[in-house]
Subunit: 216 residues, 2 copies
C-alpha cells in the first residue's frame, strides 16, 4: 500500500502528463512548494514509479502509471457509486471521492464495480480505467476544437472545480446532452452554443475541458 501522499503525486503526474511534468506545475496542482516536489519526485524515482530528468521534469514509469490508474479507477467508481446511491450532485462528487479514494480496499473496489455493473464512465463522463489499467474512451474531442453547425454530444465535463460543474449543470450542459456551436469569438475563443433551445456562451478555457463526440 502506498501512502496517500504518494498516491496523490502519481495521480497528479498522470493528470498533467503524459509528457514531462515540471516541478512548479506539479507543486501548484498539489498545493505544496516546489522544493517538496523535488524531494518527493526523487523518492518516487528511487521506487521505480517515476522517471526524472533534472531540470526537465518527471513522468510515470509503467509501474507508476498502473498505480495512478488504480487511484483514478477508485476515484471514478466512488463518484459513480455516490451519485447512484445517494444522488449527490455532480459538483459535490469530486471532493468526496478525493478523500475516500485512498481508503478503498481492492475488495470494496470490486464490490462497488460489480454493484454498478462495471460502468465505463463516471457521472462527469470520464472513462473509468479497468481493474488492470485498461482505459477506453479517450477519443472525445475538446468542444473548443469542434466544428460549427453540427450536432454534437457532450461526453465529458471537468470535475475538479465544483463551481464550473454547477455552472455547466445550471446551463443544461452535462454528459449525454446534445448541442450545436453557432458562432465563436475569434479574439478570445469564446463559443456560443445552442443547447436545449437556449444560447449559452462558454469561455474558451471551459470549452477546452468539455469533451464532445461527433457521431451519434
Amino acid at each position: 500500500m502506498y501512502s496517500i501522499a504518494i498516491e496523490d503525486y502519481l495521480k497528479s503526474i498522470w493528470k498533467l502528463g503524459p509528457k514531462d511534468v515540471g516541478t512548479q506545475e506539479l507543486a501548484s496542482h498539489l498545493d505544496v512548494k516546489p522544493a517538496s516536489v523535488t524531494k518527493m519526485v526523487l523518492r518516487l524515482t528511487e521506487m521505480g514509479l517515476v522517471d526524472h530528468t533534472p531540470y526537465k521534469g518527471a513522468s510515470l514509469t509503467s509501474e507508476g502509471e498502473l498505480e495512478a490508474l488504480s487511484v483514478v479507477r477508485r476515484h471514478r467508481l466512488l463518484e459513480t457509486f455516490l451519485s447512484q446511491t445517494l444522488g449527490l450532485g455532480r459538483d459535490q462528487l469530486h471532493a468526496e471521492a478525493e478523500r475516500l479514494e485512498h481508503a478503498l480496499s481492492k475488495e470494496l473496489e470490486s464490490a462497488i464495480a460489480d454493484y454498478l455493473g462495471n460502468p465505463e464512465r463516471d457521472p462527469h463522463g470520464h472513462p473509468i480505467p479497468g481493474p488492470n489499467g485498461e482505459l477506453f474512451g479517450e477519443t472525445d474531442l475538446p468542444l473548443s476544437d469542434s466544428p460549427m453547425n453540427e450536432i454534437l454530444t457532450v461526453m465529458q465535463i471537468p470535475d475538479y472545480d465544483s463551481s464550473v460543474s454547477s455552472w455547466l449543470e445550471n446551463n443544461g450542459i452535462f454528459p449525454g446532452v446534445k448541442l450545436e456551436i453557432k458562432s465563436r469569438d475569434d479574439f478570445d475563443g469564446g463559443i456560443n452554443c445552442e443547447v436545449n433551445n437556449h444560447i449559452v456562451r462558454i469561455t474558451s478555457s471551459i470549452a477546452s475541458l468539455v469533451k464532445i463526440s461527433k457521431e451519434d
Copy 2:
C-alpha cells in the same frame, strides 16, 4: 480535522473506557508500543481531549468523547450503508468501515444518515451515536450474565473480529434472533443455547460480547 492517528486513539480510549485506560492496554489495542502511547496521550492531554494521570491511565474529556463518538458514528453509519447497498457480509463490514471512517466529510455523513433513515443500530446491533453524540440503547445485557430458560433476543454481536462474526452468523446468531440459555458450565462459563431448534455452545469470552434484551 484531527489526524487519523488521533481519531484512532480517541476511539480506542472510548471503547476501552469509560474508566481510566492503561498504557499497555491501549498500546495492544492500537497495535503500537507503550512508549508511543505515552507520547501521544501527552499530546492529547495538551489538546484538551484527554485527562491523564501519570502511572494511572487516561480517559476522555467531554470534548474528546464528543470526537470519539463522531468517529464511532461515522464507522457505524458506514457499516450500515455498505451492508444496505452492497450487501457486504457482517464479517467484512468492520475492516472496510475502519478505513473509510476517517475520510468521511460531515456532508457525506449526513447524506448517508438521511439515505438510511437515521438508523439507531448498525448491522451488528451496535447503537449509532447521533450527530451530537447522543447515544441510546446501551441497556442491552451481556449474554454471559443472562438468566436461563427465558426467551432472549440477540441485540448486539461483536464486530472487530471477522472470524467471530462469521462463526456467530454460521450458527444463526445475529441481531434480532431469539434464543434461550439451556445450561451453563460453572467452571469455564461456557453456555449452551437453543437457537432455531439447535443447541449451540458459546464460550464465555464470546458470550460476554453478545448483548441481549429480555423484554421483546
